[in-house]
């Protein structure tokens, strides 16, 4: 009997194709919005997680000053080369310690110039960032010690300045120094903050300090722990060492901070997940509005079809059968809307994913949920009009014009 009811419902939907479509538009939009929001949100979460994982395994990030509101990090004392040396020699379970100092610079080659980020560091940087070379070599011991003006360039810098030419051995002008390109980094793409990580130039930290910055400061230190090491323990060790070196005693607060990238990843992924949930919930409200649209049109339809309902009751339909027919009609309509909405939502999410450069992840659970909700909306908002149809008095209904 249910199968028959579905057939009757389909017949009646087909008889009013345009009206049926307009009826379900609300559900289409609601379901579409939920699917699009959640799919894009999930893709973003995945992208953030993957990006931060790419930052390097077991990465700890050390900076002067404290993060957080009301804390100026600028007045905290920067690090220096001896801090890095001490960390390298005294910390257990540490694979690499990379000093980092950065500045925006203009790189010039012939007539081409480009604003980019110059990073003073050493070979440990490549280990902490899990970053390989596409061509050339990394810095040599001697170059690092002497602070020679040799540089390793990112793919973007290479593309913009050199085009198809081989950059190795050529000299670039960076601000007012000339430095020879000795290597090219592999492409890394966008960071989760949207910046182009390949738009960079690396030079030995000493060259940076002496010839660009004019001081011996190190603004950040990246520490990569051994694979099996407990990063919390490494973090505690770094904190103890730096407190000692910076003369912080007793319960005085640290004037530096050590952050475990894993925690940052988790926080960020958590944030995007919460955002996804919120957006999904907002979209779900529009699904509810869509349900009210269905109820509205079904009520109009019951009034319009009063005579038809009277005929059905007179030729042998039982109350329950009329109720079922209208209820099934509402559910079928709603599911139609659901299917179109799912396709629409996925289409939009696919386009958005391409635009935003995030992965397009189809989550079957959310699709099933949206589908289920569409059905539920049909049942809930279809019941009242269906009951109204079933309770009609056949004589009155037949007399209705």
């Amino acid at each position: 009997m249910l199968l028959e009811a579905v057939k009757l419902a389909l017949a009646s939907i087909r008889r009013n194709a345009l009206r049926s479509f307009l009826t379900v538009l609300g559900v289409v939009i609601g379901v579409g919005a939920v699917i699009a929001m959640v799919t894009i949100g999930n893709g973003t979460t995945a992208k953030v997680t993957a990006d931060l994982a790419k930052l390097g395994s077991n990465l700890l990030f050390v900076a002067p000053g404290q993060f957080g509101p009301g804390r100026a990090s600028s007045d905290a004392k920067p690090f220096n080369a001896r801090d890095v040396e001490a960390m390298r020699s005294q910390l257990p379970d540490v694979r690499a310690v990379a000093p980092v100092a950065q500045r925006s610079v203009t790189a010039i080659l012939g007539n081409e110039s480009r604003l980019t980020v110059l990073t003073g560091t050493d070979d440990d940087f490549l280990i902490t960032q899990d970053w390989g070379l596409a061509a050339g070599r990394s810095f040599l011991e001697g170059e690092l010690r002497a602070g020679r003006a040799a540089c390793i360039i990112g793919q973007t810098v290479r593309d913009k300045l050199f085009g198809h030419d081989d950059p190795l051995g050529t000299s670039l002008r960076v601000n007012n120094i000339s430095c020879e390109v000795i290597g090219v980094l592999q492409a890394k793409g966008q960071s989760s903050f949207g910046t182009d990580q390949d738009d960079t130039i690396l030079i030995p930290i000493r060259a940076f300090q002496r010839r660009i910055a004019g001081n011996s400061d190190i603004s950040r230190i990246y520490v990569s722990a051994e694979d099996k090491a407990d990063t919390a323990k490494v973090q505690a060790n770094i904190e103890r060492l730096l407190r000692e070196r910076r003369g912080i005693v007793g319960d005085k607060e640290d004037d530096f901070s050590v952050r475990d990238m894993k925690q940052v990843v988790q926080t960020m992924a958590g944030t995007t997940a919460v955002l996804t949930g919120l957006l999904g919930a907002v979209a779900a409200v529009s699904l509810l509005v869509g349900g009210i649209g269905i109820m509205n049109i079904m009520l109009v339809s019951v009034t319009e079809r009063t005579r038809e309902i009277g005929i059905r009751l007179a030729i042998g339909a039982l109350e329950g059968q009329v109720l079922t027919q209208f209820l099934v009609e509402a559910v079928v309509l709603s599911l139609f809307g659901g299917v179109i909405g799912i396709l629409l939502g996925l289409g939009l999410a696919g386009l958005a994913a391409r635009g935003l450069g995030v992965p397009f992840l189809i989550d079957p659970a959310i699709i099933l949920t949206a589908f289920g909700f569409a059905a539920l909306v049909g049942v809930i908002f279809g019941y009242f009009p269906a009951r109204r149809a079933a309770m009609l008095d056949p004589i009155e209904a037949l007399r209705h014009e």
Partner: protein
């Protein structure tokens, strides 16, 4: 509350026992039927006539179990219809009664065949048997080759014949027709009357309301209503 299967052979098919029907309350109330006694047996062909507002449709609605008397008793096959609830009357209707209306009342944008199948669908008959019986019913009204046409593609007379096919497809004992030829020209009306006479000969009881003496003449009994009561009740000559 299960009327189905309750049949008392000794009882009349249709029996009104002091049936009154009053619409509305107090001063504005209308007494549409006033202590009507009536008996119709299996196999009869009855025409109900009378001026407008005399209570013909009201009587038909009660006979068709679409409505119940305000007072008095209506017995269908010996069963007191007034004591049945909505569902009980619906079951009685679907088991024993077929309806034909003045306005044809086919469901639009649905083929003739589907219209005829509908009563069987509601009775849970499987699709292939449904189709067979519906085609047979369309054949009986002479419209087999129009099975796939929508009502809008059929003439008034053809539409009414589809409606008759739909009414008889469930093999009812009684066919109730309230002004079945009211919307048709004389020639087409005659065809419909011939069809009803035919069906009556094949043992269906027919009760029909009409304003036209010509059409009433086809029946074997003519009941005349005036002001809510029966003024005359005559057997006609036509006993073919």
């Amino acid at each position: 509350m299960k009327p189905v299967g309750i049949e008392r052979p000794e009882a009349a098919l249709i029996a009104f026992d002091g049936v009154s029907k009053v619409f509305g309350l107090g001063a504005s109330s209308v007494r549409a039927l006033d202590h009507v006694d009536l008996r119709i047996d299996q196999g009869e062909f009855v025409a109900i006539m009378g001026p407008s507002g005399s209570g013909k449709s009201t009587a038909m609605n009660i006979i068709g179990c679409l409505d119940v008397p305000t007072s008095g008793r209506y017995l269908f096959k010996g069963l007191d219809v007034g004591s049945l609830d909505r569902r009980g009357r619906a079951l009685l209707r679907r088991r024993f009664l077929g309806f034909v209306f003045q306005g044809f009342n086919l469901i639009g944008r649905t083929s003739a065949l589907e219209n005829v199948e509908l009563p069987l669908t509601y009775r849970g008959i499987p699709a292939d048997e449904r189709r067979k019986r519906s085609l047979l019913a369309l054949d009986r009204v002479g419209l087999k080759e129009r099975a796939s046409h929508a009502p809008s593609e059929l003439s008034g007379g053809q539409q009414q014949r589809v409606a008759i096919a739909r009414a008889i497809v469930s093999e009812p004992s009684v066919l109730l027709a309230d002004e079945p030829t009211g919307n048709l020209d004389t020639r087409t009306s005659r065809e419909i009357m011939d069809l009803l006479s035919d069906l009556n000969r094949q043992s269906i009881t027919v009760v029909m309301v009409t304003h036209e003496p010509d059409m009433a003449a086809c029946a074997r009994r003519i009941i005349r209503f005036v002001d809510g009561h029966i003024e005359s009740d005559n057997r006609t000559m036509e006993t073919a």
